[in-house]
């Protein structure tokens, strides 16, 4: 008897949670959602909401109490914001003067990053060396924040049952001559520029985030002009999952050696190379590429979820 994938997961979940009769647990999922208590409640509330929306009882909001409450609320909110801004301005006026070198924020950590950054990490750009080598854990957390954001938007807006609304199937760029002619020049140039910024993240300003956002924007432009069918040839849901998962796993696995090599954690097998060359600075360039891929997939994922409710 062939078991479907869902059945195997349900059996595993039932076994994991210690249920006695595993076969009964599988049958529960096939009940009609309407007949359960929750389904009925949901239906009843929906009916009530439709009736309310027809009646539009906003006149009850114009009663005297609510209007005077609104006035008080507005006056109070402006007052609270003015008081808050005043207190903060008073505090700012006591802060150290803008641009002085003996700011308490400029301590020995910044001096170490600037002096030893080039020898330790091999990156010419001190900021890139800092966020991808000395403080690589923060950047990992940030990539996870992006990934979590896409998951949340997928939960909120995603619809996997194929009921895509017809409006987004007929994209507006279909008959637009200006867009078609521009896209032929702009999209390759923008993608090349994005790749340049990612690959030169350790030599010049930019890095994975800016480059990834630029590549995402180039893909959005392509999608708006040529439609989703054309974009799906190289970027669909499976590509998104595989690329994001591979990039994040690579980041995690490649930086765990720091937990084993001790305090500084800088020395790794990959040689640092000559500063100024693209293939230098050890792991920073591959990590930039991983972060760039995650960011570009995330940005295009947002676009795709908003336009047609699935990646």
């Amino acid at each position: 008897m062939k078991m479907k994938r869902n059945d195997i997961f349900r059996r595993f979940a039932a076994w994991f949670s210690g249920k006695e009769n595993i076969d009964d647990c599988i049958e529960q999922q096939t009940d009609d959602a309407f007949l359960t208590q929750d389904g009925y409640e949901h239906h009843r509330r929906h009916e009530k909401l439709m009736r309310l929306l027809e009646e539009r009882p906003e006149e009850s909001l114009r009663s005297l109490e609510i209007r005077s409450f609104n006035k008080t609320y507005i006056v109070l909110s402006v007052l609270v914001c003015v008081v808050l801004a005043g207190v903060l301005l008073y505090a700012v006026s006591f802060m150290p003067r803008f641009g002085t070198a003996d700011n308490p924020a400029n301590n020995e950590v910044a001096d170490k990053y600037l002096e030893d950054g080039l020898e330790d990490t091999g990156a010419v750009s001190a900021v890139a060396g800092m966020i991808l080598d000395y403080r690589a854990f923060d950047t990992l957390g940030e990539s996870f924040v992006l990934f979590t954001a896409v998951c949340c938007v997928m939960i909120l807006l995603g619809r996997e049952d194929g009921r895509v609304s017809e409006k987004c199937e007929c994209y507006e760029g279909e008959n637009d001559q200006i867009l078609h002619r521009l896209v032929r020049v702009l999209v390759p140039a923008t993608m090349l520029f994005g790749c340049y910024i990612i690959l030169n993240g350790h030599l010049s300003p930019g890095g994975g985030f800016a480059g990834g956002a630029i590549i995402g924007a180039a893909m959005m432009l392509w999608c708006v002009t040529l439609g989703f069918r054309s974009t799906e040839r190289f970027f669909n849901g499976r590509t998104f999952r595989v690329v994001t998962f591979a990039a994040l796993t690579f980041y995690c696995v490649s930086k765990t050696y720091s937990f084993y090599t001790g305090a500084n954690g800088i020395a790794s097998v990959i040689p640092l190379g000559t500063p100024g060359a693209m293939l230098s600075s050890g792991l920073i360039m591959p990590l930039n590429v991983a972060v760039g891929m995650v960011v570009s997939c995330t940005m295009f994922g947002f676009f795709s979820l908003f336009m047609r409710s699935k990646i």
Binding site: E58, V127, A213
Partner: protein, 91 residues
């Protein structure tokens, strides 16, 4: 001269933020917000942080603006006023 440009840009930032709060149309609020993000990118350059400038220009003006436009399109509010949406704001 340098200070004059800095002060001018910061005053423009505050003007953009105030005008976002006061516009009636949603579309113009989003457009002014995009220009606010662009002026912020120039302020980053003047503060000698080119990483932040490139990232803010790409992400703030690019991605956030596009997301706002997509939301407005999805709820069909591109040409709407805020006054229609919340009639009870005027007293």
């Amino acid at each position: 001269m340098d200070e004059a440009i800095r002060i001018f840009l910061l005053v423009m930032l505050i003007a953009c933020a105030v005008s976002v709060s006061f516009t009636k149309k949603l579309l113009s609020a989003v457009v002014i917000f995009t220009s606010y993000s662009l002026i912020m990118a120039i302020v980053w350059v003047l503060l000698e942080s080119p990483d932040l400038a490139v990232t803010e220009a790409a992400v703030g003006a690019g991605i956030t603006g596009v997301l706002f436009f997509l939301t407005l399109k999805k709820i069909n509010m591109i040409d709407s006023d805020t006054k229609e949406n919340d009639e009870d704001e005027k007293k």
